[in-house]
Amino acid sequence: MTGPIVHLAGVSKRYGDVFALRAVDLLVERGELLAVVGPSGSGKSTMLNIMGTLDRPTSGTLRIDGHDVGGLGDRELSALRARTIGFVFQQFHLARGVPAIDIVADGLLYGGRPRGHRRDAAERALRRVGLGHRMLHRSHQLSGGEQQRVAIARAVLGDPPLLMADEPTGALDSRSGAVVMELLRELHGDGTTVVIITHERDIAASLPREVRLKDGRIERDTAAPRVAS
């Protein structure tokens, strides 16, 4: 399928009287690697939730992979998340005491494929993130960096075209963080669209495109001229 993977047009999100996002327009093409950066309270978490279809905009339209999200019900939205979007969170969200391979296999739990197939895919995904030797380790036996790599393996298990990473290095030391960032770049190299939400300017600056948020508005978008042309 062609066309942009994410398209926000005049998207606003209001909580009570407070606007978390104000009429944001954003176009993300397939295969991009970009950072959404801003201080806390700038609306980047809201941006992640809306782009990830975890929350709905108060106004404006959002298209993900060609689907008008506003017209989708819960079941269709869930199917869209299962098929199109992978998530990586700052706190990893790994089930305690469960072997890495089963955690990763759950990435396809809602995709309708049998368990044996999911475990095979999980094995490949763990090798892909460099954890082939940690398959049967339980989540609490892994280091923070390894846990985040398990979470990434789970997110990309079904080869979603869009990967949303929320502060993926926020809970890691710099060395583990660098490994995780390298992994995200590799995934981007393989064709996945990667959106990284971060408050770290260094990380943002190292990526091809940087969308800077402030007070719910896009303050600067390094790719804006190209998209506009």
């Binding site: 060609g66 869209l80 998340r81 969200h93 739990l109």
Partner: protein, 400 residues
């Protein structure tokens, strides 16, 4: 641009069970305790049903062993309140009735029986002395546990057969020539002791002597006070109303006719009423267990917000989250239900073995127990599951 229709995939049934079980595996102690609540309720109900069924089964066996065709005839009350007695000819008249198989009789004497001749006269122990016909055991189907029954050879001599309770009161445990009791002012030899009689409990606390010796030595007037008769099974209801007129044609109203097995059947009914009551108590316990499961599930949903959020981000629909928590509640109750049935059967087995009964737990009680837990689990899990499903994914993830 037309996008392909989005449709969530169905989860495999094995995955539904596996995901439902995941929440249980991660909190074993809490699961054990809430399952225990259910198990106690189910065990109480299965135990009550099992014990009552085993007891009924025992009574049924007793009834069929003792027979329901035994009828007794006794003198009743006259209108003028004089002491009435059955005619001496009553036994022969009844024996001649069509449908009657066997007849025997006992006659009450005024004699008293004591352990020895030093016991004070008023300490009778409530033991009655009867003159008994030699064919009595065949009719009432009582067994002797030691010694033998009265025979034609000893009915003219001071020989006595004691009922089970009477023997205990008189401290006689063995029949034999050196087992003597002081009866009617002279020594009688205990020739036999009867086993407890379920059907004719009157005999338990009695001393039975031969008809001739009673007449000769104990001032017995020779009138039977209770006639025992067995009718053909098919003729019992036909024979029963005719016994009065046959026994005492002059005054049929002065005869009491009864069917001892009716008393056992009534006992059975009483037990059923009681077990109905206990069953109700068990149901209350089960309900309390169900509230425990609901409580556990509500807490579980609150604690697992981030898991719910994560699953939603992985593509779980609201329905799939609901199914997960509902199946978790069902599994939890099922665990308690199966445990409760095992516990209830165990309690029944222990109690029945202790009472020397056969253990009988009806299948419907076990199936019903497990079925009831599923209903309880479904009800208890419904609200928490709805809550989990309605939780917005962002809120669930924010509280991590």
């Amino acid at each position: 641009m037309s996008a392909p229709r989005l449709k969530p995939a169905r989860m495999w049934p094995a995955d539904v069970v596996r995901v439902g079980g995941y929440g249980l595996r991660s909190r074993p102690m809490r699961v054990f305790l809430s399952a225990l609540g259910i198990a106690i309720g189910i065990a109480a109900m299965v135990g009550v049903v099992g014990i009552s069924t085993s007891s009924t089964n025992e009574l049924d066996q007793q009834l069929s062993a003792l027979g329901t065709n035994l009828l007794t005839v006794a003198p009743g009350q006259s209108l003028t309140d004089e002491s009435v007695h059955l005619p001496a000819t009553a036994v022969g008249m009844i024996a001649a009735m069509p449908g009657v198989e066997t007849v025997s009789a006992v006659g009450r004497t005024d004699a008293r029986v004591y352990r020895n001749d030093h016991i004070a006269a008023e300490q009778t122990g409530g033991i009655a002395v009867y003159a008994a016909r030699t064919d009595l055991p065949a009719v009432v189907r009582s067994r002797v546990v030691t010694g033998g029954w009265l025979t034609a050879a000893n009915v003219r001599y001071p020989a006595v057969v004691l009922g089970h309770a009477a023997a205990n009161r008189l401290a006689v445990f063995q029949a034999g020539t050196d087992s003597l009791v002081w009866l009617g002012g002279r020594w009688f030899t205990v020739v036999g002791i009867l086993a407890p009689s379920e059907l004719v409990p009157d005999l338990d606390n009695s001393a039975l002597v031969g008809w001739p010796v009673a007449e000769a030595e104990l001032n017995f007037d020779g009138y039977p006070t209770t006639i025992y008769t067995r009718a053909q099974e098919s003729a019992v209801t036909a024979v029963q109303p005719l016994l009065g007129p046959t026994a005492n044609p002059a005054n049929p109203g002065e005869v009491d006719v009864s069917r001892p097995s009716d008393a056992l059947a009534a006992k059975q009914k009483t037990e059923k009423t009681l077990s109905g009551l206990l069953l109700g108590l068990g149901a209350v316990a089960l309900l309390v267990g169900g509230v425990g499961v609901a409580n556990t599930m509500v807490i579980s949903v609150l604690e697992r917000r981030s898991e719910i959020g994560l699953r939603r981000s992985l593509g779980a629909t609201r329905g799939q989250i609901r199914t997960q928590f509902l199946s978790e509640a069902l599994l939890l109750s099922l665990l308690g239900g199966v445990g409760g049935v095992v516990l209830g059967v165990g309690i029944t087995a222990i109690f029945a073995t202790y009472q020397h009964w056969v253990t009988v737990v009806p299948f419907w009680a076990m199936a019903g127990g497990v079925g009831a837990t599923l209903v309880i689990g479904g009800l208890a899990g419904f609200y928490p599951a709805m809550r989990a499903a309605r939780m917005p994914p962002t809120e669930a993830l924010a509280n991590a």
